[in-house]
Amino acid sequence: MKVALEDLSALSRRDELSEPERQRLDVLLQSSADARLFHGLGRRFDAEDPSLPIADAASEAVVDALLNDPRLLSDLQRRGSAKRRTLPRSTWLIAAAALFVASLAGAVIGVQRLRSERASIRAAAALPSVSAPAGRAVGQAVLPAGPVSGPIQEHAAPELSAEPLPTHPTPASAAELLSAAGRARRIGQPKQALELLQTLRSHYPNSPEASASEITLGKLQLETGAVAVALGHFDAYLQRSPSGALTPEALWGRAQALTQLGRSSEAQQSLSQLLQRYPASPYASAARAKLGSAAAGRP
């Protein structure tokens, strides 16, 4: 489907234009001062706040505050119970019958739910234009299950299932891939997360999300004990985006990795740099505490 002129700028900002579409945008920008004005302003907003919708310390703090707010859940539970009270008796009888039937099919539903959870992560990675091993689409790759220990093989080809799974109907954007990778990491599926990040990095190599993926990769490798590999990712982010939105995360991750490698003086340098450059970052108080305890431990 041909992209509308007014959408070329938005898609270009996400690094989602094909070459012919990019040429159309260039022509538009050459010929229209208005197009240049709004495209230029949009780019400035992207440059001012390149932060991505990923779970960082700030979002985790907001989530924690919400979950620790007793009103939120009690309001929900009150609404839920009020809704249940208003149901007529016949509805309860039907529901009881349905529950009985559902219990008989419980095992089947359990299996389907497991498959659906995996499919939802896999769906975000399915890019129809990708050629996968054995002629299958990436969306057909089996999602490896269970936690892994030790470093993740970042260049391993995905396993393939005996049973073909349907592919996602449309390409996933860089943001969706990064978001799905973050989700996979949080639910303990590091291999999936890695596959999604590899897809992101190969399809959108110049996107801000590809740069941010260094942080997610660093965290993934730290969690699996591949500390030196993790350090490489944090360093790569700092080299690629020395003043990027995730620089505090990179400096913090770098300090964690260096500490685990026993390179404590370099870790302290990283923490000092974090404090000096980002004194109001969510990591600042933890960095101060770590530097304080390191100073106290010195002879």
């Binding site: 400035r44 779970a55 907001v62 949080r186």
Partner: protein, 210 residues
């Protein structure tokens, strides 16, 4: 209601857009399931924070508070969610409105904003042109000021397009409006923005070379 993948029900989606994984959490959250609430918030809050940063400016002191309030409102309104769009877009619209309301309150109360202090000596020390850098830092706050002067529905459309980079189809789903209506709102919003920008001391100097 469409079907994807393993024949799983799909609540709603943009044409050609991604499946809405979050929709399956809604009934569990509204029934008071704390685990589902945590999962939903973990997914939504990063997006709400991004909206808040773009609309208010990342140096605004209430960026996190706005994301918090928007998330609270989203959860409170989930019972009214009818699956006409994705949960994420339902939440995005609430976040845009919450952040725009904060800006309007700011203006009305003329509340002092905490802005980054621009140290021109530091720019000179780094070999940068202080005036050019100062103009750069003033542009985006000026754009936000002009947006504040637009009618709400036009401001919402332009925020979604210009600040957040959404396409017309995406805006139509987020705003719950027909495509042609969104196109017309976007055209009008850009015209109004431009005519105000031409009178604005910072924006009228803007030149984007072809």
């Amino acid at each position: 209601v469409g079907q994807i993948g393993l024949g799983l029900p799909r609540i709603s989606m943009l044409p050609g857009g991604p499946a809405d994984d979050l929709a399956s959490l809604v009934p569990r959250v509204t029934a008071g399931d704390a685990g589902a609430l945590r999962s939903l918030l973990s997914e939504l809050v990063p997006h709400l924070l991004r909206v808040s940063r773009r609309v208010l400016g990342s140096d605004h002191p209430f960026v996190e508070d706005v994301a918090h309030d928007a998330a609270y409102t989203v959860v409170g309104q989930l019972a009214q969610y009818r699956g006409e769009g994705t949960v994420l877009n339902f939440a995005r619209r609430i976040a845009v409105n919450t952040a725009m309301n904060m800006r309007r309150r700011d203006r009305a109360q003329k509340r002092a904003r905490v802005r980054e202090v621009v140290d021109t000596d530091a720019f000179e020390a780094q070999g940068l042109d202080p005036e050019a850098t100062l103009a750069q830092t003033a542009v985006l706050p000026a754009v936000r000021e002009v947006l504040d002067e637009l009618p709400e529905v036009l401001a919402e459309t332009l925020v979604l397009n210009l600040l957040l980079g959404h396409t017309v189809v995406e805006i139509a789903e987020i705003a719950g409006a027909p495509l042609e209506t969104v196109r017309s709102r976007l055209r009008l919003a850009k015209e109004r923005f431009k005519s105000r920008a031409e009178k604005h001391p910072v924006l009228r100097e803007l030149r984007f070379e072809p």
